[in-house]
């Protein structure tokens, strides 16, 4: 019976936290904001990353849900001027249009992992939140496999994480982060975007070391 | 010129050298900037003018450095040992010339990251004169290194030096051969551009024209270099030797003019000499410069300054002719226009500065080069 490392345990938590932060802001989110932030901070401690900026930004927005929703809509859905930081890989990877090769690649990865987009939410496969959630899923599965001592399965999951992170996330997230920073009005999303990018880089390093 | 000042007195050493060095370093910086950004960001090259100042520079400097092989031939093939001093200067100058050409070329091509491809046999395109030029220049560069090696390290009694020294005549022969090839090949590059190059300059015998002009340019430039260097070393120039060179040059110029006009005549394009507007003017300036040089070479006798004038005429002709062919007379489709950016010009200036600097340094720190001059003086 093998035991997952501290970081292996923290990874899914961090991804989950990012997914929640980047999803469309809801009452629940605002209600749990504090808890969310503590959980994020704790999880980040294990990888020496800080959520202070995010915390500060959250503080600043002091619970104004609508402001956050307006910001989210104009940055990621339909904004003025136009959608400012579309959170879709295709836009940055495949010449400005949606559902490009990147989307197909992501979808293939999900299907290989036995997942599909849930019909309830209308999201595209290469939407940032979806891709992060996939990383969360892989991390979670890895941990569970480890706990059941299924090293082989854990390894499969880690391999998937490595490939997906390097092929489907890292190539475009920096560009997206830049768009967010350039056009944001509130501090929250830039902070979250910077954190996301930093974390993805850290995790990429971690995963490569683990491979050896 | 700065070679002169630099070697005249120790005190002036730092200043002029530093100036040249500074310019060269700026060029280096510009070069890095160019590679880090793009052609669009640094040059005015465009769809109509994919080739510009840098290519013209290469087409100019290659024949400019032709002295290296013409004198190598004189020294080793024709066995005129008395020329070895001048030959070594020409060799150094040639070596520096080709170095700058290769460096500028690397900046010019837009896939410099794959430059080595040209050396991979499976990719060799024997139909392409661009290939011939690239290949023979690369090889010739190696040859020149071998030729320089025993001179630079003459005082070291390494066995290698002696071996190479023995092989020098052979190496020189190969060098001459390679030069013959690429001096004409850079002309042949234009054979396929009859639709672009103005008929006043395009010709089926353009390789031959490039080769002959390389011959007399090389001889003239070597002579010029000699005069400068000797003056720099405050010694009277070896006029009989130089006269020997210019006399040969004069005959080659004559041959060139015959070829040039004969070709226009046969092509029935003599009329273009008058009907091509500005280009006609350029053409006549070329002819006048060349005829002047020829006459001077035949008539100047031992007068150093007159000969100098002739050499300068030849040099001017070479510059004008090569820049015309590679730039002014290369008609762009769709009325595109081109004028180099300051980056392009800066690189060229820096290249010359570096060339002069290293030539001066060579003269200063390679004993056998100096010795060559001194001994020739004794002659």
């Amino acid at each position: 019976m093998q035991a997952p490392s501290e970081q292996a345990l923290a990874r899914p938590a961090i991804y989950q936290a990012l997914v929640k932060g980047l999803a469309y802001p809801s009452e629940e989110f605002m209600a749990q904001a504090q808890a969310w932030q503590t959980a994020l901070t704790e999880a980040l401690e294990t990888v020496d990353l800080s959520a202070d900026q995010v915390a500060a930004a959250l503080e600043e927005s002091n619970g104004d849900l609508q402001a956050l929703q307006v910001e989210h809509t104009r940055l990621f859905i339909n904004g003025v001027p136009h959608v400012l930081a579309p959170p879709y890989a295709s836009v940055y990877e495949d010449g400005g249009q949606l559902m490009g090769q990147s989307a197909a690649r992501a979808l293939r990865a999900y299907q290989e992992a036995g997942l599909m987009l849930s019909a309830a939410v209308h999201a595209l496969p290469d939407h940032l939140a979806v891709e992060l959630e996939f990383m969360f899923y892989l991390g979670r599965e890895e941990v569970e496999a480890d706990e059941q001592g299924d090293a082989a399965q854990a390894d499969v999951m880690r391999q998937r994480s490595v490939v997906f992170l390097n092929e489907c996330l890292l190539p475009w997230v920096p560009a997206w982060r830049q768009h967010v920073e350039e056009s944001a009005r509130l501090a929250f999303y830039p902070a979250l975007a910077r954190l996301a990018e930093a974390w993805l880089r850290t995790d990429a390093e971690y995963l490569t070391t683990m491979k050896v | 010129m700065s070679a002169t000042t630099t070697t005249r007195s120790k005190s002036s050493f730092p200043l002029s050298f530093c100036v040249l060095g500074a310019i060269a370093l700026c060029g280096l910086a510009l070069g890095i900037y160019r590679l880090a950004t793009s052609l669009g960001a640094t040059t005015n090259l465009n769809e109509g003018y994919p080739w510009g100042l840098w290519i013209a520079f290469d087409f100019f400097v290659v024949p400019l450095s032709a002295g290296a092989f013409t004198l190598a031939a004189t020294l080793h093939i024709f066995n005129r040992k008395e020329y070895h001093g001048i030959a070594h200067l020409a060799l150094l100058a040639g070596f520096l010339g080709y170095t700058t050409v290769i460096l500028v070329l690397v900046l010019d091509i837009n896939r410099w990251d794959q430059f080595y491809n040209v050396l991979l046999p499976p990719l060799w395109n024997l139909h392409s004169f661009m290939f011939e030029v690239a290949m023979s220049i690369t090889l010739y560069f190696g040859v020149m290194i071998l030729e320089l090696f025993p001179i630079v390290f003459a005082r070291k009694d390494w066995p290698v030096v002696r071996w190479v020294k023995q092989l020098v005549p052979l190496i020189a022969g190969v060098g001459v051969l390679l030069s013959t090839v690429h001096q004409s090949s850079i002309g042949a590059v234009f054979l396929t551009l009859s639709h672009r190059l103005d008929p006043l300059w395009w010709s089926p015998i353009i390789p031959l024209l490039f080769f002959t002009s390389a011959l007399f340019s090389g001889l003239s430039v070597s002579a010029l270099l000699a005069i400068i260097t000797w003056r720099a070393l405050r010694r009277p120039a070896p006029m009989p030797l130089l006269q020997g060179l210019t006399r040969v040059a004069a005959f080659v110029i004559a041959a060139f003019l015959v070829l040039k006009f004969g070709d226009l005549l046969l092509a029935g394009e003599l009329g273009l000499m008058f009907s091509s507007g500005l280009l006609s003017l350029v053409f006549w300036v070329e002819v006048i410069l060349l005829v002047a040089a020829m006459v001077i070479y035949f008539r100047a006798g031992k007068n150093e300054n007159t000969l100098l004038a002739g050499m300068i005429c030849t040099l001017a002709w070479l510059a004008l002719n090569r820049f015309t062919i590679a730039w002014f007379a290369l008609h762009a489709p769709g009325g595109a226009t081109y004028f180099p950016t300051w980056v392009e010009i800066g690189i060229v200036v820096a290249a010359f500065a570096a060339g002069i600097l290293f030539y001066a340094l060579g003269m200063r720190y390679v004993p056998d080069l100096r010795a060559g001059v001194v001994e020739t003086h004794h002659h």
Partner: protein, 747 residues
């Protein structure tokens, strides 16, 4: 495989602490998935290519397409070879449509505005909302308006299609306004009065014409798929093409003769030609005797309209007019090409008379519903809503006075169209009554005359709901955004219309919506229900149900049509009609319907409204690029690069006289407004004209590519009051889109 020992030991060492953190975080963050769900066995992504049948919705030609998909994404479209309209090809606009489908600017979720202030350049402050919230908000507001002010206080601005009509009528409002009088009402009215008893026919058998005569028609330049091909074929067969147009259009550039006629005077030229054809007995006696009425009146009527009379008016030599008339009448079959915004379209005060002359010309040479001429659409009889479902009659309020005054134009009214030229004035003057709420579907502000005026009008409304695909200008004024499917994401049947020489139906297979969008059909029915008008939405009413009923009538199934290549209908040769849709069952030169309604039955010369003078020396011409459709295509990343902004096209010589050079910025100023454009100098235009491409001047920042490029020709076109429209004496209520003179001067 086992992991290296180092990691193992390290893991053990870290175990405790790690577990603690994880437990804590999972507790708050939860362990569940919201976007992804596990599936029993992963269905492998269909890497191999699949196809979907559909009908292009970019323009009204409705070419049947085949969409080629890879991994669920449309890679490209091809025309359906079985479709008589598409014949295996699409046009540039059709092919480009895919990029609308995947445009990141698309409206993706329902949204509502949080910023009460409205206007050009004002950020609506959108927030994403659920469909439930969006539909309730819309329905409740409509209900409230309806209850307090009456149904007429709601207006639907949308094309007059089945479901759109149903929504308007069920909600009880007479105000279902379409763009029609800026587009083709003149043709519609004339064809109703003279030939069909209903609207215009769209089918023309150009391919077999031997002589094609056009007045301002640029079907080839607008890359109209079927027509471009057909006319090309005719030309290859040796047909002659003659084009009267002040501008060298692409069609004109393909013509044997381009005749730069003075704008708005085509009527004079046509009257003269009719005169010649009749006077010289060149007309088709057989056809005229058997299938027309009122010939003698016509003959008398045109007696004085000689070429010599017309020449100075239209600035075309009398000899040219006479020769063209003779060629037209003696080369058979011959046809006058027309579609919408040509000389017979609602461009000039006299356009309806011009349109009448078009029909007269065709009738005189016997090319109405004859090979090589205009063909009355052969369309299958498909069931209407009442044939399929039982629901109460619509309230009488729908017959009441309209905000655009359409009901005062009896010949046009039954065609159930609308007027964009009077809408703004109607709303602003609150006559006959105030309008409080509007529902826009796929109609953009920029396609109105004088859009700035309309913006003023719309700002007086309490509530605007918009169903659209892109965040166009109207969306920027919306209170609720109801994101619409693109036509790729819709389904159903579509009867061939723009080239229907025999009844044919195309199948539309839906692509799963890319975003959280809904069709107007489902949205409008849902709103009716939530407005408490459920009785108009019987069980099972909807697109699917209608399609099912249509299939039953056709006696086929979707799968069967699919098996036949997405198209239903047997090819059949044209059986020429011997009777027509008018009261007399004949083609009426002297239209009784017009006379009964107080309009002259025969076309007399009438000068255009706007006369150029020293102050306004230029005539405004509006044209369209082959790849542009109205104001819908300028956000396309590729075709927009062909012509990033529209320009003021001027005659080169004239421009030089005025000191205007290529690329200079110039003002074009009409009585309504002025717009700033760069000048384009050309030889291909009359010196007294300035031509402007339509579709530019987008001010919606929601369009990342189109925003701020060029200017909108519409700004120069004045709006009208109903009184002004009545005064013009035009039964078709023409918006007179090009009956505008302007001054042009350097900025």
């Amino acid at each position: 495989m086992a992991l290296p020992n180092i990691t193992l030991s390290r893991r053990q060492f870290l175990k405790l602490t790690g577990a603690a953190t994880a437990a804590a975080s999972t507790a708050t963050l939860g362990n569940s998935l919201q976007f992804l769900t596990p599936v029993a066995q992963a269905a492998p992504l269909s890497a191999e290519d699949t196809i979907l049948y559909g009908v292009c919705g970019v323009c009204s030609m409705g070419c049947a397409y085949i969409a080629h998909l890879r991994g669920g994404r449309i890679t490209h479209l091809t025309g359906n070879p079985a479709d008589q309209t598409a014949e295996g090809s699409l046009c540039v606009k059709g092919y480009s449509g895919v990029r609308l489908l995947y445009d990141p600017d698309r409206l993706k979720y329902p949204m509502k505005r949080t910023n009460p202030e409205k206007g050009v350049g004002v950020d609506p402050g959108w927030v994403k909302i659920s469909w439930d919230e969006a539909l309730d908000l819309t329905a409740n507001t409509f209900k409230e308006v309806r209850d307090t002010f009456g149904p007429q206080a709601i207006m639907l601005v949308a094309r007059t299609k089945t479901w759109q009509k149903h929504f308007a009528q069920a909600s009880g409002t007479p105000n279902h306004v379409g763009h029609n009088n800026t587009c083709y009402t003149t043709h519609d009215v004339i064809w109703r009065a003279m030939v069909t008893g209903k609207g215009k026919t769209w089918t023309v058998d150009y391919e077999h014409s031997q002589y094609i005569l056009a007045f301002g028609w640029d079907g080839m330049g607008k890359s109209k798929n079927h027509w471009g091909r057909a006319v090309n074929q005719a030309l290859a067969n040796g047909a002659r093409l003659v084009v009267f147009d002040p501008r060298l259009s692409i069609t004109a550039s393909k013509a044997h003769e381009w005749i730069p006629i003075k704008p708005g005077t085509d009527l004079a030229a046509l009257l003269a030609m009719i005169h010649v054809i009749i006077d010289e007995e060149l007309y088709d006696h057989e056809f005229v005797n058997n299938y027309t009425t009122g010939f003698d009146e016509l003959k008398a009527h045109v007696k004085d309209y000689t070429p010599e009379w017309a020449a100075p008016i239209c600035e075309v030599p009398a000899e040219t007019l006479a020769r063209t008339a003779r060629e037209f009448a003696t080369t058979k079959p011959a046809v006058v090409a027309h579609h919408k915004r040509d000389a017979g379209g609602p461009n000039y005060t006299n356009s309806w008379r011009t349109a009448q002359c078009f029909v007269i010309m065709d009738a005189l040479v016997g090319s109405l519903d004859r090979p090589g001429g205009h063909i009355l659409d052969r369309k299958p009889k498909l069931p209407g809503l009442r044939d399929v479902w039982e629901f109460p009659d619509y309230a009488d309020t729908i017959k009441g006075p309209r905000i655009d005054g359409l009901e005062q134009f009896p010949v046009l009214k039954p065609l159930g169209k609308g007027s964009f030229s009077t809408l703004a004035e109607g709303i602003l003057s609150q006559s006959p009554y105030p309008v409080k709420a509007a529902f826009f579907w796929k109609h953009n502000i920029l396609s109105f005359p004088n859009p700035p005026r309309l913006v003023e009008a719309l700002k007086t409304l309490d509530f605007i709901a918009v169903s659209d695909v892109l965040p166009t200008e109207i969306v920027q004024l919306a209170d609720v955004v109801l994101p619409d499917n693109t036509f790729y994401e819709g389904s159903g049947l579509n009867a061939r219309q723009y080239h229907a020489t025999y009844p044919q139906v195309a199948l539309r297979e839906p692509l799963p919506p890319v975003h959280d969008t809904k069709s107007f059909t489902s949205v409008s029915l849902e709103i009716l229900k939530r407005m408490g008008l459920g009785e108009y939405v019987p069980e099972g009413m909807g697109g699917k149900g209608l399609t099912q009923a249509e299939l039953e009538v056709l006696g086929t199934t979707a799968d069967e049509i699919k098996a036949q290549g997405g198209i239903w209908g047997e090819a059949a040769p044209i059986k020429p009609n011997t009777e027509f849709g008018t009261a007399s069952k004949k083609i009426e030169f002297k239209a009784t319907l017009l006379e009964e309604n107080g309009y002259p039955g025969l076309p007399s010369w009438q000068p255009p409204r706007a006369k150029s003078d020293a102050n306004y020396p230029f005539h405004l011409l509006i044209w369209r690029r082959p790849w542009d459709r109205m104001t819908q295509t300028q956000n396309d990343p590729i075709v927009s690069s062909f012509c990033p902004e529209n320009r003021a096209m001027l005659n080169a010589a004239r421009a030089r006289e005025m000191g205007i050079a290529e690329g200079d910025e110039v003002w074009i100023e009409s009585l309504a407004n002025k717009i700033k454009l760069k000048a384009r100098l050309t030889q291909g235009i009359r010196p007294d004209c300035v031509a402007v491409e339509h579709g530019f001047g987008h001010w919606s920042t929601g369009l990342s590519i189109a925003y701020g490029k060029g200017a909108n020709d519409g700004d120069l076109i004045p709006t009208h009051t109903v009184e002004q429209q009545l005064a013009a004496g035009d039964p078709a209520m023409s918006a007179m889109m090009e009956d505008v003179v302007v001054k042009v001067y350097k900025v």
